[in-house]
């Protein structure tokens, strides 16, 4: 994959270096399809993972990204290390809410310092079970998801699997610009939503459908070619009438 030099103020760089080469540890929870963080070194957690009831959880793409950089050691129930090969299998298998392509897109942006979260997943949820009002984009599923908070990532997975059968295009990630002041409790409106495109370019209908669902938030689209990623905008415009 072609990755250019990261931006100078890459948040990830400073966060990773502050680890001091000591990795965080997380335990894989099969039922939830994510890892519960046991000890968190450095400041990675400020822009990675979701906080539920005071605990930090990483999903598969976050685990993959951190493990590749030596910033995370993933453990199983018996405290044995789960190696990178196993982590890659979990991602590639597509059963935990992320595909291999989605992981490539996630990594590409994270390396450059962008703050990336799964679309529709609140960054933080309070313990009491009442849904914290977040600024994540409105969707019908939000209220439903809040009441099923205890099931963690499983609902995300169900939603992801449903999305795969939804006709048309749906956002995979919400993306924020690199921001040292980013707070999970108040993430703000994403800079854009990222949709992954499949084997052919989107039709006009597909574009208009997804634009109508997410009015107001810019959409970007991501196309894959053997590890090379293209980010595209398909903007609806109106050429001005000239004098």
């Amino acid at each position: 994959m072609i990755i250019d030099q990261p931006s100078q103020d890459s948040l990830q760089e400073s966060q990773l270096s502050s680890c001091g080469n000591v990795a965080s540890r997380a335990r894989w929870v099969e039922d939830a399809g994510e890892a519960e963080v046991l000890d968190s070194k450095g400041k990675l957690w400020l822009t990675t993972g979701v906080t539920r009831g005071g605990k930090l959880y990483y999903n598969v793409e976050e685990i993959g990204f951190l493990a590749e950089r030596g910033a995370l050691v993933l453990l199983d129930d018996e405290d044995e290390t789960i190696g990178l090969e196993e982590i890659y299998k979990k991602i590639a298998g597509g059963n935990y809410g992320c595909s291999w392509d989605a992981f490539q897109a996630y990594k590409h942006l994270k390396v450059l310092g962008y703050i990336v979260g799964r679309y529709g997943v609140p960054w933080t949820v309070k313990h009491s079970g009442t849904c914290e009002v977040t600024d994540s984009p409105k969707s019908m599923a939000d209220t439903e998801r809040c009441s099923d908070r205890a099931n963690g990532a499983c609902n995300d997975i169900t939603k992801f699997l449903k999305q795969m059968h939804i006709d048309g295009i749906y956002p995979s990630f919400e993306v924020h610009l690199p921001n040292s002041k980013f707070k999970k409790s108040c993430p703000g409106v994403p800079t854009f939503l990222l949709c992954l495109l499949r084997d052919k370019p989107p039709s006009r209908d597909e574009l208009e459908t997804v634009e109508n669902k997410f009015e107001g938030i810019p959409l970007k689209f991501c196309q894959f070619d053997n590890g090379r990623i293209s980010f595209l905008s398909f903007d609806n415009v109106t050429l001005p009438s000239l004098p």
């Binding site: 590409h108 052919k200 006009r204």
Partner: protein
């Protein structure tokens, strides 16, 4: 969308002021009224799309300023000759109603007959013309984009004054049009168009022409065709901005654009002088 890139005069100032002083709508209006007075006849080739039009020297200046057709060099004489493309001749005939078209035999054609003739010469004429007239009616200057791998290129004013902003690809859809072999249906085609337009610093503009009707037999169908505008741009994550060019390691080829520039530059100064004279005349007319 990024703004227009105006070309610069010898004194270093750009031509935006000159363009503002001579709006394209006024130039086209003056061309239209001048042609209507003399009713020139364009001869269309029997099996092709191109037409040849003879006009007076003053009309030739206006045709040049409005960027219609290609001037045909000749030894001199009273008439100046222009070669017009299919969309151009139909626009002058049907939209501006200032030119009459006839076959080599001398037989004059009605607008409907001209439509049939152009449709049989090119299957995609209905959607190409709809796109062309859509842009022209907004006073954009529209020229062929084939040398850039697209259907048209669109300029904010005369090509002598400004670089073109858009490389235009026309995509048909709908009942009658949808069966055609359309563009941008596979990634290789879309990314190729994006790269081609980016290498000449233009934004890729996709005009999707949709129709709900099945009848394309007369120019009346034009009212039932709808134009959807969309740009396709590449976003560079490393630089956090939209970019017309791909972040490629290969130098973009400037040869194509350079060649075009050379062949047209001889006409440029004539056109610019013409604009200066025209704007002075317009000011003169307004004052008195």
């Amino acid at each position: 969308m990024s703004g227009p890139r105006w070309k610069k005069a010898k004194d270093g100032k750009d031509f935006s002021a000159l363009a503002a002083a001579s709006p394209m709508s006024s130039i086209v209006a003056e061309l239209q009224s001048s042609l209507k007075r003399s009713r020139p006849v364009a001869t269309i080739s029997s099996h092709g799309e191109d037409a040849i039009l003879g006009v007076s020297p003053h009309q030739a200046i206006l045709l040049n300023q409005a960027a219609f057709g290609r001037f045909v060099e000749n030894a001199g004489g009273e008439k100046q000759w222009f070669q017009l493309g299919a969309e151009e001749v139909f626009y002058l005939c049907h939209a501006l109603k200032c030119v009459v078209v006839e076959l080599e035999s001398g037989k004059q054609m009605s607008e409907g007959e001209l439509w049939d003739h152009l449709c049989s010469a090119s299957e995609s004429f209905p959607e190409m013309y709809k796109a062309y007239s859509h842009l022209r009616s907004k006073n954009w200057v529209v020229r062929s984009g084939l040398q850039y791998g697209t259907d048209f290129i669109a300029y904010r004013h005369h090509p002598a004054l400004v670089h073109s902003e858009f490389a235009v690809v026309v995509v048909p859809e709908g009942a009658e049009l949808g069966g055609r072999c359309g563009r941008l249906k596979v990634w290789s085609d879309l990314l190729c168009a994006l790269r081609a337009s980016g290498s000449v610093a233009k934004t890729l503009l996709v005009l999707t022409i949709s129709s709900s009707i099945c009848e394309l037999g007369s120019p009346d169908c034009l009212e039932q065709l709808f134009v959807h505008e969309r740009t396709i741009t590449r976003w560079i994550a490393q630089q956090c901005r939209e970019q017309r060019c791909e972040p490629c390691r290969v130098e973009p080829s400037k040869e194509e654009e350079g060649h075009t520039r050379e062949t047209v530059v001889l006409n440029y100064w004539g056109v610019i002088l013409g604009f200066t004279v025209l704007s002075t005349l317009l000011v003169y007319k307004l004052r008195f």
